[in-house]
């Protein structure tokens, strides 16, 4: 890559950083840092604003870089991610958004703890929320790393490391200074930037193929080297039964995971009512759906225009398909148009990573401060303000995410997100649904549901080919692989539900009728909601 790309992309990206830091200082002036303000941005966003922010939270680097890369390399099999990511929103809309808005205050644990003995439930739900967030953060960090190595040419490990560290530092600044209000505005700005860039690229692709989607698909199939097989399922997950079960496992994790993602759940608290939460989900389904339809076009266009060899050469996992496509659409590597478009796409992708990372960090620092710290601190100790703890937690989570991001840098970003979804679906979703809908659910059931999903999910990942025993794994040198699937969802999600049921039926505790009545009435009517 030439110096022009780099300078322009860096300039654009610095512009974004300057604007977002401006937003952060602007919104945090004259604020006294109450918990309401820090975690929920004062709960005064409109449904449209929150809808854009949710879409911004969700359209992560994983979709923009990872999914298009998977479609470009594996054709139809990459599309499964897109379909799963979208259908998942129906689970959120039907079962979770309004009820969670009505029952909780800041976090997932609020909803569960309202019915149960508070301390063990909060510790369990807080732990699993932080785990999910950290996994998701790692995916975004890896995305940042592969983007910069493309931008700076070559794969200088030092440049990669410094980018990851820089992204981590910026996110800590946004979160700890600006809280939810700044994070939400950054998401909105980013969502608009990302959507306009995607629309522009899609229009350019359609112009290139004279609006003929059929020709686009045929060219993609032709250049991929697989022929029409490229347009049918089976290239990535087609082979033996292990691969097929992996595909089903992934599909299950994607569709059930979204409703358990802490940074999505915490978004519903930024609007005043359940009705506003519902309308923000409707907004975000529209935005996310349109975005994913364009991603499919861009993924096929990347292979049709750039070709599979150039894509694989740049990044083996396909994470750089969209920037390369932009370079070609603008007129090629030596033209002004290509340089500008490439720089814009790279800068927007960076902005995406930064914004998503800020959103997740905020949600996980809320879990640490509001759930873990509040339950674990010694009763006699001088209580620090919860918000101060949350700000400190943001720094700690940043450090962990940076370290893991450096370690996992060669995995596909969308695949890493698939793991985060699997853990969210196994550990967070069962406990959430049981406490909203099951009259007889008890404290032991809640605690078992969380750990019964979380521990198997993590253990199966550790024992899977992702970590050891295959040439592509994190530690290719050792082999303690035991579980054949890359995604644990197929096993761990049912285990989470099963553990919750088992814990409930074996517990001596008699479920509290009045508390269940309170949860149900509050969930469906909004009485007493904050």
């Amino acid at each position: 890559m030439t110096g022009n790309h780099q300078t322009l992309a860096l300039l654009l990206f610095s512009g974004f950083v300057a604007v977002t830091l401006g937003i952060t200082t602007w919104v945090s002036r004259n604020r006294h840092g109450s918990a309401e303000e820090f975690y929920a941005g004062g709960r005064l966003f409109s449904p449209m604003e929150n809808g854009f922010a949710i879409a911004g939270d969700y359209m992560s680097a994983a979709s923009f870089l990872g999914v298009t890369g998977l479609i470009a390399l594996y054709g139809y099999d990459g599309m499964l991610y897109v379909v799963g990511f979208l259908v998942a929103w129906l689970v959120v809309l039907f079962l979770v958004a309004e009820l969670v808005r009505n029952c909780g205050r800041f976090t997932l644990a609020d909803v569960v703890a309202a019915r149960m003995s508070e301390r063990p439930v909060r510790i369990a739900a807080g732990t699993s929320s932080v785990t999910v967030s950290v996994l998701y953060l790692v995916a975004q960090m890896v995305g940042a790393g592969s983007l910069v190595s493309l931008l700076l040419g070559g794969t200088s490990p030092a440049a990669r490391a410094w980018t990851v560290i820089g992204v981590g530092a910026l996110m800590v600044i946004y979160v700890s200074l600006g809280g939810m209000r700044a994070t939400t505005w950054i998401q909105i700005v980013k969502a608009i930037l990302l959507l306009s860039t995607t629309v522009a690229l899609t229009v350019l692709v359609l112009l290139r193929f004279h609006g003929n989607i059929d020709q686009l698909l045929l060219t993609a199939a032709d250049r991929s080297g697989h022929g029409l097989l490229f347009l049918a399922p089976g290239l990535k997950y087609g082979g033996d039964w292990t691969a097929r079960f992996d595909f089903i496992s992934l599909g299950l994790a994607l569709v059930l995971g979204t409703a358990g993602l802490p940074h999505i759940l915490s978004r519903f608290y930024t609007v005043p009512t359940a009705r506003a939460a519902r309308r923000s989900v409707v907004w975000s389904i529209g935005l996310v759906g349109g975005f994913y339809l364009m991603m499919i076009v861009l993924g096929f266009a990347a292979v049709a225009v750039v070709g599979p060899d150039a894509l694989k050469k740049s990044n083996a996992a396909g994470n750089t398909a969209v920037p390369l496509l932009a370079l070609d659409l603008g007129g090629g590597a030596d033209s002004t148009g290509g340089t500008v478009l490439f720089a814009i796409v790279a800068a927007v992708a960076f902005a995406t990573i930064l914004a998503v990372v800020a959103g997740i960090t905020l949600a996980s620092s809320a879990s640490v401060a509001h759930d873990l710290y509040a339950s674990l601190r010694r009763r006699r100790a001088k209580p620090y303000s919860e918000v101060a703890v949350a700000r400190t937690a943001a720094v700690g989570i940043g450090v962990i995410a940076i370290a893991l991001g450096l370690l996992a840098r060669d995995l596909n970003v969308a695949f890493l997100v698939g793991l985060a979804f699997a853990v969210a679906a196994s550990a967070n979703l069962p406990v959430l649904l049981y406490s909203l809908f099951w009259r007889g659910f008890t404290t032991r059931g809640a605690v078992w549901a969380v750990y019964g999903g979380l521990i198997p999910a993590l253990a199966l990942v550790l024992l899977s080919p992702v970590v050891s025993g295959s040439p592509d794994s994190l530690f290719p040198g050792v082999d303690f692989q035991f579980f054949p699937l890359q995604n644990p969802g197929l096993v761990s999600i049912p285990l989470g539900f099963l553990a919750g049921w088992l814990g409930t039926v074996t517990s001596p505790e008699i479920p509290d009728e009045a508390k269940h009545a309170e949860t149900e009435v509050r969930a469906l009517t909004g009485a007493g909601a904050v």
Binding site: V83, T273, K515, V530
Partner: protein, 151 residues
């Protein structure tokens, strides 16, 4: 207009104050304290509301829409994923030009998602919102009265 939700104002009191225990700061009891009132625990209020016909109606309207809805879209999605893995030949069958059954099914998932979103939002707006809002007011009145009687 941003804050046109009718019950927005009702929420504004008691916001932002934490008493350090993670539960909302108690609302100021209404003037009912001196008239004695019915002595109810706040928990009993919720039990009463839950048993009321009005709440059962809201609840069953919600469940009657959501339960079949969830079953339908999950079944359709699982069928899609399973078909993609076990019957790639079927999914590869051409429909028109380069578009095959798998592509149509994938786009069909998009379409059904948009349709169900629209249907849910409409159902909630027309069939649930008003009744839920009335119940919310009544419940809050009752809990306030209950707190006033006990505290």
């Amino acid at each position: 207009m941003r804050y046109h939700d009718p019950w927005y104002d009702a929420l504004a009191s008691g916001w932002g104050e934490l008493d350090g225990t993670g539960v909302p700061a108690p609302e100021v009891p209404a003037a009912r304290r001196e008239d004695g009132g019915p002595v109810l625990r706040a928990g009993d209020v919720y039990l009463d509301v839950q048993r009321s016909a009005a709440f059962q109606e809201v609840r069953s309207r919600y469940l009657r829409f959501v339960v079949p809805g969830v079953i339908v879209f999950l079944a359709w999605y699982v069928a899609y994923v399973v078909a993609a893995t076990t019957a790639p030949g079927l999914m590869a069958r051409p429909v028109a030009g380069a578009v095959n059954v798998g592509m149509v099914a994938g786009l069909g998932q998009f379409l059904t998602t948009f349709l169900l979103t629209w249907a849910y939002a409409r159902h909630a707006r027309l069939r649930r919102d008003r009744a839920a809002l009335e119940l919310r007011w009544d419940t809050q009145e009752l809990t306030r009265g209950a707190r006033g009687g006990v505290l």
